[in-house]
Symmetry: C2
Subunit: 363 residues, 2 copies
């Protein structure tokens, strides 16, 4: 998927409408060409290092009892997106669901009954129009904070990420319209935990190491992933990932790096194949004497470890397979917060600088 401009997005939305109108005028059964989003059409591409979608297309007809509901939902999603772009407003996925949940005239049939339906319609629309959900003015979740020597322009405001006190800039759900005015940083550190972000921020790591620090709380949102990707692509900044040492952390890393199965159609907008995993690794547990802070794996962790280990992008990766083997032997997880046992600012003063200096990361 190529990055579209606002004008192109509008044009593609209009094209979708006029195609359907043309078919009606020519008394054809209106149809949409929808890329197939089933698992069989999703695969890991070792060349691009991304989870990508195949080329498969399916026709979706209006006069077809099995197709008509999805057909109408896709058209409605397009109508909502057009309305949003026209008035310059955005809606969340949940709000879009309610906006689409109209009752058809003279019936008791709702256009959508569950958010899964509107979500699927929006994902189809992304593929049909080649425009990401963000370009269609439909936003994902808002989460996360950022600090660093960066100045941006957003909604007419000039914002200096290095002058926002202890809180930092709150990352919006949609970062498409942000203009980078000055990026004076050498790399980006992404943290899975907001508490560790506060640790690094209080220790002014972004100033000392000349970097940008970004955190979510758990899985990274689309807004955070797009922000990381834009800094990586537009400013060639390395992205270092810091997650808890467990299969869940490995998965958070892999989603940022390779993309995810459910958003495979948008990997080119979200994935960062160059991202590196800084820690916590199984070796860290021994090196930093964190054994007593291991939290014993429960059955669900062991199961998850097996799953993650066998994902296409990990299963032929020697170093990662070694990691998974070591974790299985350790039989426990270790949290970033555990580094506090070595000293209040140990993660900021020693762990991160040493790791980066010695290029101790997993690729």
């Amino acid at each position: 998927m190529l990055r579209l401009t606002k004008q192109e997005t509008k044009k593609n939305l209009k094209q979708l409408g006029s195609n359907v109108l043309d078919q009606i005028k020519h008394e054809k059964n209106p149809a949409l060409d929808v890329p197939i989003r089933t698992l069989s059409n999703v695969k890991y591409d070792p060349k691009s290092k991304m989870i990508t979608m195949g080329e498969g297309l399916a026709k979706r007809y209006f006069f077809n009892i099995g197709h008509v509901r999805k057909f109408v939902q896709t058209i409605e999603a397009a109508a909502v997106a057009k309305e949003l772009i026209d008035v310059g407003k955005h809606l969340s996925l949940r709000e879009t669901f309610y906006r689409m949940k109209r009752t058809l005239p003279n019936s008791n049939i709702n256009l959508v009954d569950e958010q899964e339906e509107s979500n699927a319609a929006i994902e189809d629309l992304e593929l049909i129009t080649d425009a990401s959900r963000e370009l269609l003015h439909i936003n994902a979740n808002k989460l996360g904070s950022v600090a660093g020597k960066v100045v941006i322009e957003d909604k007419g405001d000039t914002i200096d990420w290095s002058k926002l006190g202890s809180g930092g800039w709150a990352i919006p759900s949609n970062v498409e319209d942000i203009i980078f005015k000055k990026v004076d940083a050498k790399f980006v550190i992404y943290l899975e935990k907001a508490a560790e972000w506060e640790r690094l921020h209080e220790d002014r790591v972004w100033e000392k190491l000349n970097c940008i620090i970004i955190s979510s709380q758990g899985q990274a949102t689309r807004g955070i992933r797009r922000l990381l990707q834009r800094l990586h692509m537009e400013y060639k900044l390395p992205v270092y990932i810091l997650v808890d040492g467990d299969p869940w952390g490995a998965y958070i890393y892999s989603v940022i790096k390779y993309g995810s199965i459910s958003l495979a159609h948008i990997s080119q907008e979200l994935a960062i194949p160059g991202a590196k995993m800084l820690g916590l690794t199984a070796e860290d547990v021994v090196k930093y004497g964190l054994q007593k802070h291991l939290i014993k794996f429960e059955e669900v962790d062991v199961k998850r470890l097996e799953q993650v280990k066998n994902y296409d992008w990990f299963k032929d990766h020697k170093e990662w397979q070694k990691q998974f083997k070591l974790w299985k032997e350790l039989n426990g997880k270790v949290e970033l917060a555990a580094l506090s046992s070595k000293g209040i600012t140990f993660i900021s003063d020693k762990y991160i600088p040493d790791k980066i200096k010695n290029k101790e990361w997993l690729d």
Copy 2:
């Protein structure tokens, strides 16, 4: 609990240590006076409209097999807090747990094994020293965004909450040191959902209605509650709460207003007895025709409704009892996002302004 200065906090911590030392010097069994935090010592006080703690005190002895572990943990928590204040750093609750998890010399006994232990020690320390966890440099979670016509000073930075683009200021876990330089707002709107905050922010509600908008995502953190309380107490700003219409939303409201059982000892620092619930109410469902957007209660919702209904601060409250009765009849919840069905900006242009103008709130 009165608000202490930094100096007083340090003094009280020191006092705790010298008291214990004195007892040792006089060959007494070292003991701490710890307020009782069991449920029996917590009650709702209708006069102050706060969940408060009784006066009960218990002695905790060093030479007592049932007391010694907790005694040592409390002293260790005090030592960590003193260290943090001395070096001017903060730790999260989780980090503090790891910091306290030392192994006693010549033994295989850890000072704490579970975070519940360090949490309890920190809560006891709050009571013994009369200083909130924030003053002891131990932080809760970081979450939420804020926008509005307010200028603050924090960590040497001057931050204008009205000039932060689409993201807003990310609220830190600890807002004790923030200095308000200019507060040009008439009231505060708190929203349970980040997506609705983005709705109001895009519609520039804070500018149009001259207010401050603050959101969490789900339950409000201590940082958010302290920020709301400080604006309410120091600038006499009314606080209006917007939550989903369900028992969970009612509870989020009640925690902000009256405090919570688990943090009863700190209600005076966190509760906002003047807070008002703007919506969503059961009446809103009918008034705004949201019936078709009701999400049928599941068993867990019905159970929660019964629990919340019977809390001391609700059970003699006529208007709230009417609410709970109506919700039971509706037998479903309704989300703030459902207002989008009435128009993209309906919540910003109509719902909130009308409610405030007509003083349509629950007290």
